[in-house]
């Protein structure tokens, strides 16, 4: 299977063609079958390939599969070549596995769409899977960039899937003192898609420059050749390359300062949010940094930037998630925050930890989104948590799975999230206690906002009775994937148990041939005591956070309410997302539009065309002025003739 790894991409692509071109004639069942089946094929092929790769000796676990020469101009030689190694196949497995479950879920979730839209949805989703797999399997930077852009387009199309919808106004928050705090409206889907594409493309602008710089420096775009030659290249160049590539990651993984698009991306259907904007596409940045770890290891400055951006983003997004009233947006900010964790990990050189968190996050965040989708499905697209409450009685499966996801996200001991987050914090502590402190604080906030959402939505009494009455549990095709993901979120931690447990960290070892091959020698190992201590602190923080959330939101809602009034300025700041969107809107979106209008009206129409048309008008005017001498009076013409003759004669005579 290793050498037919292209099947992984080809299968969903075939699904795209079938569903995209003929979908509306095939019927929902068939379309669903094609959509799910093609991803299933990818998953199976990916799993078989992984097993096959595992059977090879560790040193040979990297197989290049060339398909055809893509672009050949002189020294520029880029092949349509895939690389199957431990890292890429692991990503294939994560992506296709999570995709498979989400496809299955989507059959139920999108069931009320008409046939054309249903087919279109699965075509997009399959195209996304193919693109994402191309991204992870790419053997060179150009192919990586191609996949990178393609997933962006799929994201664009899927966010704007309900293209006819308008902005969604949000009810203002009423505080206990009677005052109101306006909540920014949810952007409409087509504009959200556009925003997502353009913001990420701004990051891709840096990524593209990075790729150009790589070619200009190395004369090749193949990963292996670049990595082999990298140590001979000046650090400054490598730093420039890695920072430029990281710019792409910032855009794609919604890190500061390009984080604004991801919350708006929630305008898309929920399975899309789960698949693209939580589990897979947004983690592409992390994968990219991990893939290029050779370069990042050579550029400590870049790594530091990555780590700091990650840490700051983690805290920034977690605080915003604390006050959101839209369940999906809570999860979106949580995603940004968790991606920050991953960047913190890869920034401090813990690539395996980053990949581990990427994997567990894919499980529990997909789970949380799907569960949120299940809630939306039940409540007819109501997503405002202020209108929920007590849902655990109506939707037991959804409630339980959401709880599992929340526990994992909050880092409840022994869940998948606990182990992966702890590994990151551990490595961060090794690197710098300051980063660890930020990470720990974020962990506390994470537990707090996660359980705030959970409690407000599922606990207590229903706040909107008519809505509550209509609520119902989702069909099995939706709850089955939830259950599977819940199990993964609980047990995913087994993939990478801490070394102090005395068992091998399986994922770390699996990825070792990739990351260890070039990694610099281990700096220092923490003592076992310190590790246990840190583990204990993490667990304690998670528990404290959960308890605090329970106390604040379930027990003593009055305190929370008064607290909100006291901290009103902070509350307003957070609910307006630190005003980052407004600043961007004012400066870039509106500023750009205004500049464009100015250029179009002022420069193009008035100045340039004014000169052109003015020149033309000058000739017309001149002609009009000259015609006054041509007044039709014959004596005048005759006089003109005589004057002309006279001048000619005078010239001839006086010459």
């Amino acid at each position: 299977m290793l050498h037919s790894i292209w099947l992984v991409i080809a299968a969903p692509l075939a699904g795209v063609l079938l569903n995209g071109l003929l979908g509306r004639h095939l019927g929902r069942a068939f379309v669903g079958l094609v959509g799910v089946g093609s991803v299933g094929v990818s998953f199976v092929v990916g799993a078989l390939a992984l097993i096959e790769l595992g059977a090879l000796p560790a040193a040979e676990r990297s197989i290049g599969v060339g398909m055809w020469d893509w672009i050949t101009i002189g020294s520029l030689q880029v092949g349509m070549t895939l690389r199957a190694d431990a890292l890429s196949l692991w990503m294939v497995l994560v992506v296709s596995g999570v995709s498979l479950l989400i496809h299955l879920y989507s059959v139920g979730y999108m069931g009320h769409e008409d046939e054309r839209m249903f087919a279109r949805f699965f075509a997009y989703l399959n195209l996304f899977v193919a693109s994402m797999l191309l991204l992870v399997l790419a053997d060179n930077y150009l192919l990586l960039y191609a996949g990178w852009e393609l997933v962006g387009v799929c994201s664009y199309l899927l966010i704007g899937f309900w293209f006819h919808k308008g902005d969604e106004e949000q009810a203002p928050v009423v505080l206990v003192d009677g005052s109101q705090v306006a909540v920014p409206p949810n952007l409409n889907p087509p504009d959200s898609g556009k925003k997502a594409f353009i913001v990420t493309r701004f990051g891709d602008f840096g990524f593209a420059l990075g790729v150009f710089l790589i070619w200009s420096t190395f004369g090749t775009l193949n990963f292996t050749d670049v990595f082999a030659a990298a140590p001979q290249v000046p650090t400054a160049t490598i730093t420039a390359i890695t920072l430029l590539l990281f710019m792409g990651a910032i855009g794609k993984s919604a890190q500061l300062p390009l984080s604004v698009w991801l919350p708006d991306a929630m305008a898309g259907p929920t399975p899309v949010s789960a698949l693209i904007h939580a589990a897979t596409m947004v983690t592409a940045g992390v994968y990219m940094v991990a893939r290029n770890h050779v370069l990042y290891d050579l550029a400590p400055t870049s790594s530091l930037v990555v780590a700091i951006v990650g840490a700051v983003t983690a805290l920034y997004a977690a605080t915003i998630a604390l006050v959101q009233v839209d369940l999906k947006r809570v999860l979106a900010y949580s995603t940004i925050s968790q991606l920050g964790y991953m960047f913190l990990a890869v920034g401090v050189g813990a690539y395996a930890a980053g990949m581990f968190h990427l994997t567990t996050h894919a499980f529990f965040k997909a789970l949380l989104f799907l569960a949120a989708g299940s809630v939306m499905h039940a409540l007819h697209d109501v997503i405002d948590i202020r209108r929920m409450g007590g849902l655990r009685r109506k939707m037991p499966v959804t409630w339980l799975t959401f709880l599992v996801g929340a526990l994992a996200l909050a880092g409840f001991p022994l869940t998948a999230g606990f182990f992966s987050k702890d590994e990151i914090l551990l490595k961060a502590f090794e690197f710098s206690p300051w980063l660890w402190a930020v990470g720990l604080l974020t962990a506390l906030v994470t537990a707090l906002y996660t359980f705030r959402a959970l409690i407000v939505a599922f606990w207590g009494q229903p706040r909107d009775w008519p809505l509550y009455e209509k609520a119902h549990e989702s069909p099995p095709i939706m709850t089955a994937p939830l259950a599977i993901l819940a199990i993964l979120a609980l047990l995913g931690g087994l993939l990478g148990l801490p070394i102090v447990f005395g068992v091998p960290n399986w994922l770390s070892e699996w990825l070792a041939p990739i990351f260890a091959a070039h990694a610099p020698a281990e700096k220092h190992m923490l003592s076992v005591t310190t590790e246990w201590l840190l583990l204990g602190i993490s667990a304690a923080v998670a528990l404290v956070g959960i308890a605090l959330a329970y106390w604040l939101y379930a027990q003593r809602g009055d305190i929370t309410a008064r607290l909100t009034v006291t901290l009103r300025p902070i509350f307003v700041l957070l609910i307006n997302k630190y005003y980052l969107d407004d600043i961007y809107n004012a400066v870039f979106a509106r500023g750009g539009q205004r500049l464009a209008a100015l250029l179009a009206q002022g420069l193009d129409k008035a100045a340039i065309d004014g000169i052109v048309d003015g020149g033309a008008r000058l000739f017309v005017r001149g002609g009009a002025w000259l015609t006054q001498f041509e007044d039709g009076h014959i004596p005048h013409y005759a006089l003109g003739m005589f004057v002309g003759a006279l001048v000619l004669v005078a010239y001839l005579v006086l010459r």
Binding site: W68, D69, W70, I71, T72, I73, G74, L76, M80, R116, L142, A146, G147, E149, L150, V153, Y156, L157, G160, F163, H164, G166, P190, G193, K194, F197, I198, R201, F202, D204, F205, A208, L209, V211, F212, L213, W215, S216, T217, F218, G219, T220, D225, V226, A228, A229, Q232, G592, Q593, L595, A596, A597, L599, A600, Q601, D604, I608, D609, V612, A616
Partner: protein, 504 residues
């Protein structure tokens, strides 16, 4: 120079056939519209077939001209009738013949008045355009250059929309003003080159002959003539006017082929003829191209008329092409040649689609559109695909061209490449804005009677869309033919500086 195994004058036939068909059309009765259209379609199809024959018989990997035909035309003046095709002109020839077929097909219903004159002019235009790409004699080139101008101006002036006469005159005057300079320069070259206007001969005799100052002036004269056609900022204002007013097929040909004539001129004449001046000209032309990219994109963003938007996007896209040409390395130049084809296809496709919309709604204002995707899904899909191709989505044609251009440019000048890359961000912005305002959002009231694309319209778009993907996935089919031709130019011109050459 050895001629090909074919002594058959294939290129002459290629050029002459459209004119012959035009003659035939002129003899047919003017009321038989469908007969006229059928004959014209058949003619363009045969020409397209011939160009495909040339494409497949063309030997890749060989530099220099193939299928050459050379005979003395004006014996007393040493003017030759010299035709030939190389890797630069070949893709453009095939693009021209393909777009002509689609243009004739697309105007099947749109043109109802003066059908005969319209088709005759279209075919004469084809002769002119093919002549421009195949001529290897300065004066022959000039004749075809001007020859293609007149039918186009007439097409705009007669079958355009409200301000067509203004647009046609503007187009005519701009281009004429430029080409007069070119004629003067051509005459000077002719005199200095030993009374010959034959390009290969000039290339053999001229080096070292011309004083630098004279070379500079000649270069400027040629460069301005081509800059008008490309068009480069600030000589571009004829383009939006002409595009907006032209009939759909006219816009397609204008964007698809006529603009390429300028870029082709740079590659064919400016760079090989004046190698000493080129390094000094590079910054000027590159910066104009960059201004064109950013400026064109921003102005496109502010347009309300969708055709105007696509027109300004052409200014931006052609900026990429000129930037690539004057990066003077094989990657950027080959990319530029491919991008010429890409731009012809994607912008041509966009114009065709806008035409489809205009035929139904009789408006081009984007505020009159909105929410159409639900009503016209086939149109919507085509429109999105064309917009994404234009925005340079990987897997489609635009990506390969833009990427190779920028890669090559980056190698020469990082700042140029950085600014141009930013243009890609802006491209996404204005194209997605167009998609957003046209297809998305709530459906508008007035567009209730909108019908989706007919089979004929789909047939027009299908080859374009297929080519989007074929070029995007297998660009080497093109590069293997383009590369040798541009490598000659890249070698002739000063080689780009290599920063660090490692690896491999």
């Amino acid at each position: 120079m050895m001629t090909e195994q074919l002594y058959f004058p294939l290129l002459s036939l290629l050029i002459g056939l459209p004119a012959l068909v035009a003659l035939l059309l002129a003899l047919l009765p003017r009321e038989r519209h469908d007969l006229l259209r059928g004959v014209a379609l058949g003619g363009t199809l045969v020409v397209f077939g011939l160009s495909l024959l040339v494409w497949f018989l063309f030997r890749p990997g060989a530099a220099g001209f193939q299928f050459e035909e050379d005979m003395l035309w004006v014996a007393g003046l040493g003017i030759h009738y010299h035709l030939g095709v190389d890797g630069i002109s070949l893709p453009l020839v095939v693009l021209t013949t393909l777009l002509m077929v689609l243009a004739v097909l697309s105007s099947w219903r749109a043109i109802q008045e003066g059908v005969k004159a319209y088709l005759v002019l279209m075919l004469l235009l084809e002769t002119g355009m093919l002549g421009v790409f195949l001529a290897l004699d300065l004066f022959l080139f000039y004749v075809f250059w001007e020859g293609s101008l007149i039918p186009m101006a007439l097409l705009i002036g007669r079958w355009g929309s409200e301000r067509r006469v203004y647009a046609a005159i503007k187009f005519l005057l701009f281009t004429l003003a430029g080409s007069v300079l070119m004629l003067v320069a051509a005459i000077v070259l002719y005199l200095w080159g030993g009374n010959t206007s034959d390009l290969p001969q000039l290339l053999r005799t001229l080096p070292g002959q011309l004083p630098f100052a004279l070379q500079s002036w000649l270069f400027i004269a040629f460069a301005i003539a081509f800059a008008v056609k490309v068009p480069l900022f600030p000589l571009h204002t004829w383009l939006p006017a002409a595009h907006v007013e032209a009939p759909t097929a006219g816009s397609v040909i204008l964007a698809g082929v006529l603009l390429k004539m300028g870029a082709y001129g740079y590659l064919r004449f400016c760079i090989p003829l004046f190698p000493e001046v080129v390094p000094y000209a590079v910054p000027w032309l590159s910066i104009l191209a960059l201004i064109g990219i950013i400026y064109g994109s921003l102005v496109a963003l502010a347009q309300e008329d969708i055709k105007s938007l696509v027109a300004y996007s052409s200014v931006a896209h052609m900026g990429f092409i000129v930037l690539g040409i004057f990066a003077l390395n094989s990657q950027a130049m080959a990319g530029a040649v491919l991008q010429m084809v890409n731009h012809g296809l994607s912008t041509g496709g966009l114009f065709l689609l806008v035409g489809v919309l205009y035929e139904r709604l009789h408006t081009r204002r984007m505020s009159d559109f909105g929410g159409m995707w639900a009503r016209v899904p086939i149109f919507g899909s085509f429109f999105i695909i064309a917009a994404l191709s234009s925005a340079g989505l990987p897997g489609m044609n635009g990506f390969v061209g833009e990427f190779t251009i920028l890669l090559g440019t980056f190698h020469v000048n990082i700042a140029y490449a950085a600014v141009a890359s930013f243009g890609i961000v802006l491209a996404a912005w204005y194209l997605l804005t167009a998609v957003r305002r046209t297809l998305f959002g709530p459906a508008r009231q007035g567009n209730g009677s909108l019908t989706d694309m007919t089979a004929r319209e789909i047939l027009v778009m299908l080859p374009i869309v297929i080519l989007f993907f074929v070029i995007g996935l297998f660009p080497n089919w093109f590069f293997e033919k383009i590369n040798p031709a541009v490598e000659v130019l890249a070698v002739q011109s000063p080689a780009p500086q290599v920063h660090v050459q490692l690896g491999k």
